[in-house]
Structures are given as C-alpha cells and as structure tokens.
C-alpha cells in the first residue's frame, strides 16, 4: 500500500552543506531499498531560526522530503533518523488523505459557484475585471479587532 508522506528534518547548524546532502542521500538510499517507493520532491529551506532552543541550538537547517512509500519504509527512515545525532528534530506526516480532502473541498466550492453563477444568468467562470466591491480596500487584518478601531475611527471622525 503506497502512501504519500512528508518528512521534515532539522539538521544541526554545525553540519556543513556536504553533510546535509549526505543525509539526503542516506534517506534516498533507504527509499531505493524498498521497491515501489520514490522521493517525489526535496526542498531545502535553508538555515532558519528555531522558535525555541533545542539542546543548545538556536538555528537549524530544514529539509523537506515528499516520499511515496509504505508505512514500513517510513518506519525504517524514522528509526534511522532517530539514531542520527546530526538531526535534531524530525516529523513524518501522512499527507495523501488530507490532500484528497482539500481537492474535494476546492472542487465542491468551484462547482457550487459555477452553478450559482449560471443560475443568475452569468457565465460559469469569473470574468477578468469582475470583482466584489470592497475586495481591495478590506485587506487590513482586523481579526483581533476588539473595538480599538472603532474608538480610533470615532476619534478621527470616520463614519462607518
């Protein structure tokens, strides 16, 4: 049963670029040992600040690998990573099901919008230049507004 997984690992900041590539090659080697599995994508996010200290490290190199494979494969990769001292943190997430859900919601949404547009006598797809009024000027983030804006607007004499 082939599934899609995402593996993110944080490499210690002391590691050189060669060592990071070497770790990637190690993962690749394990993937190749299992038939029918493959690495779909590799993405090196580069060096990033950690949100909190891990051990004594404040930074780390993040690497993302999208892997098609079985649970057995991921178990093996997980085991190998756990014993690798250079990797200070890692996470394996299964993504195929969640991606399916996302695609279905997107499809459902566009279907609904097309149906509604047709029912209103409009072409099914949005025309260029067509937009909702007030779309552009409401880009300010007011999710945490608890009335401060209202006070400020009143002080400035803005009428809403």
């Amino acid at each position: 049963m082939t599934r899609k997984y995402e593996l993110v690992y944080v490499v210690s900041p002391e590691a050189s670029d060669d060592q990071v590539t070497d770790l990637h090659n190690q993962v690749e080697a394990i993937v190749q040992r299992f038939s029918g599995s493959s690495i779909e994508k590799t993405d090196n996010w580069g060096r990033r600040r950690l949100a909190y200290e891990i051990g004594r490290h404040k930074e780390g190199t993040y690497v993302l690998e999208v892997i098609n494979g079985t649970g057995e494969l991921m178990k093996e990769i997980d085991r190998r990573i756990k014993v690798t001292d250079l990797i200070i943190r890692h996470l394996v997430v299964r993504v195929d099901e969640a991606q399916g859900v996302i695609e279905r919601t997107k499809a459902a949404r566009s279907a609904t919008s097309q149906r509604r547009r047709v029912a209103r006598g409009l072409p099914a797809d949005r025309q260029p230049g067509e937009g909702q009024r007030g779309d552009a000027d409401d880009d300010r983030d007011d999710r945490f507004d608890m009335g401060m804006d209202r006070d400020r607007d009143r002080d400035r004499g803005v009428d809403r």
Binding site: A51, L91, V93, T105, K106, F144, D145, G147
Partner: protein, 98 residues
C-alpha cells in the same frame, strides 16, 4: 456584549455609569462581527509548514488563540490546532514564551 467596557467611550472612572449609559444610547455598543479568516480567504489547506499563516494565531504567551477571540470557525480551529502542534514540534512555532 458589555464585557469589555474598557474599550468603550474613554471616560474616567469617576464619570460613573450614568454618563456611560447615556453615551451608550447615542452610540450603541457595536462590535464588528468576527469572521473566520480561513472561510473568508478560502484557505483550504492549513499547513504546518506555513508559519506565516500560523503565527498570527500564536499570541505573545505562545498559547493558541481561542476561537472566541480570533473568530475562527470550529472546523478551521480544529485544523489550525493540528497544524500548530505540528509546527511546534519542528520549532517553527514556540510552545511557550521564554
């Protein structure tokens, strides 16, 4: 709705309830209706890798912002929580404030 009078008219404490009530009548306590960011922006994928998206939901103390403040709908709050917990594991988002 009257839980946050402190955000209301800027009257000193001495002014008392009468003045505030009068002011309140002229300008009834109005708070903009909160909308779920993810519903409004049609964000289907609340991804743990997207720290730019997640960080507004992590206030100073690094606790997850409750729904009653952010206005996130129940469905998206659940997804947000999972994403935040994954991001925390990877040190993209803090567990606590230092």
């Amino acid at each position: 709705m009257n839980g946050r009078k402190s955000f209301g008219p800027k009257k000193g404490g001495r002014a008392g309830a009468g003045a505030q009530g009068k002011d309140g009548q002229r300008r009834p306590m109005f708070r903009r209706r909160k909308v779920c960011k993810f519903c409004a922006d049609k964000i289907d994928d609340i991804n743990y890798k997207d720290s730019k998206l997640l960080l507004p939901f992590v206030p100073e103390r690094a606790k997850i912002l409750p729904r009653r403040i952010s206005g996130t709908c129940a469905l998206h709050q659940r997804k947000l929580r999972v994403a935040l917990m994954r991001a925390r594991q990877l040190a993209l988002v803090p567990y606590t404030a230092e």
